[in-house]
Amino acid sequence: MMKKFVNDPKQFVPEMLQGIALANPDRICYVPQYNLIMRSGAPDDAKVSIVQGSGSGHEPAHVMVVGKGMLDAACPGDVFSAPPVDYVYETIRRLKSQKGVLLLVNNYTGDRLSFDMAREMAEAEGIRCETVIIDDDVAVSGSTHTVGRRGVAGNFFVIKAVGAASECGAGLDELAALGRRVNSVTRTLGIALSSCTPPAKGAPLFDLGGDEIEVGIGIHGEPGRRRDKLVPASAIVEMILDAVVPDLPYQSGDDVALMLNGLGGTPLSELYLLYGLAHRRLAGRGIRVRRSYVGEYCTSLEMAGASLTLVKLDDQLVSLLDAPADTVLRIF
């Protein structure tokens, strides 16, 4: 039996969205028919509309990062399924702005296909669109697997940067270039300690032995690149950094943002423990953490696990990351 707070599994996503709408009557506007969460007042012709869509189950990504300084809209699909084409198409139509619509797409086949088809349909109606593909996951090597890297927790930085720049009136091409630039300096690796259970499936997506972990996990409960034995936190951090740091590479003297993202079932205490270990080890490699992010940013339902993201920083990026934002995801 599935241990979840759920009614009818088919209503899981709509009921979640309804909760978001009720908790944020002033911030957002909810269009049930298309799982659409729009920022109140959007679209704004003085601003490029920023749209992200993906499967559900990654909360707060992406429906909960709708708001000032972040997304103008998100249109999630069912749990772990890319949104159907007409959800995306309707979203683009409703977010149509004089300055254009920027589509942020995590690099998964389903998401790309949906956004491509929807964009074709929207452009046929004269709506200007640009697409930024996010693919920060170092677990998947772009060369041997032709579908390319996945987009995972690093998408937060792309959203934050283009969101902030769009508030200052940046144009569509400029934002697309910025988004691609942020993506190009962002790298992530994830580790799972447990599987997760999509409500409609009602059972875990994979079984892990009591002493096993999945290394290089995606965000949809797909198994990772390999299965390892559980080791102490320090060894896990070292293993992750050994995969992430050389990939860009991040080098001695670099300033970075360091994110320890929880996958849904891992408590803040463990994330901060990992954060501290990673911060010190990066310092040992001459890499300075200038901005830190610890918590849940892109999850896989209730999966226990964490991902580590590095972003190479420059002053422009720091000021975009520091810019104010106000979204569904909030504490106060």
Partner: protein, 214 residues
């Protein structure tokens, strides 16, 4: 020759019913190295197809199939919506204004569907996708037509090949879709999409004579 509309309706309805009956099975197949939503996604689309079945435009075979394709393309999430939707849309286009379909027309429509999937998803044969069951099945169909087999035999033979080819995807390493992220770990289990093609083909073959005659 009489209209092929009943036969097209039969095929679509059989596909839809079979998808719904196999929702869980297809999901389990996708969960092995994918994310387990394949059965759920397809079912949500074909559910609408069944519910709205009687309301669809039947002014032509092409119009009917186009409507099916649009429902699926727009309402099914994940990778499957765009791919299966495109397949129906292309089959519709290949049907043109025909009202009576010869076996050769069916082959042409299926070829168009496969080409659409190939074009949209960018997969080649051997990359462990539903194409690895669909394309061999079409080849077999064409070969059996050339050999003069009866329609009910055609369906049976094509289904046999689809199922065998689906099984054979076990040996392949996934290079497309989510399963590809697991690299070598994808070897050893069949592709969910390919198995689905086999199961659907078999269901059509099994019901063929009963439903619409030889």
């Amino acid at each position: 020759m009489s209209s092929s509309m009943p036969r097209v309706e039969f095929v679509v309805r059989t596909m839809a019913e079979t998808v719904l009956r196999n929702e869980e099975y297809f999901g389990q197949l996708d969960a092995v190295v994918g994310d387990g939503d394949f059965g759920y996604s397809l079912a949500r689309g074909f559910e609408i197809v069944l519910n709205d079945f009687d309301t669809f435009d039947r002014s032509s075979i092409a119009a009917f199939l186009r409507k099916i394709g649009m429902v699926i393309a727009s309402r099914v999430g994940g990778t499957s919506g765009p791919l299966w939707g495109t397949a129906f849309l292309r089959a519709a286009a290949a049907a043109g204004d025909k009202t009576a379909l010869e076996p050769e027309d069916a082959v042409a429509m299926l070829r168009a569907a496969a080409a659409g999937i190939q074009q949209r998803g960018g997969a080649s044969l051997g990359e462990k996708t539903l194409l690895d069951a669909l394309v061999p099945a079409i080849d077999r169909l064409e070969a059996e037509i050339a050999a003069g087999a009866a329609p009910v035999e055609l369906a049976r033979k094509a289904a046999e090949t689809a199922r065998q080819a689906a099984e054979a995807t076990s040996a392949l390493m996934a290079r497309r879709g989510r399963a590809s992220y697991t690299g070598e770990r994808s070897i050893g289990s069949p592709d969910a999409g390919a198995v689905a093609v086999g199961v659907l083909a078999q269901a059509i073959a099994d019901r063929w004579s009963g439903a619409v005659g030889g």
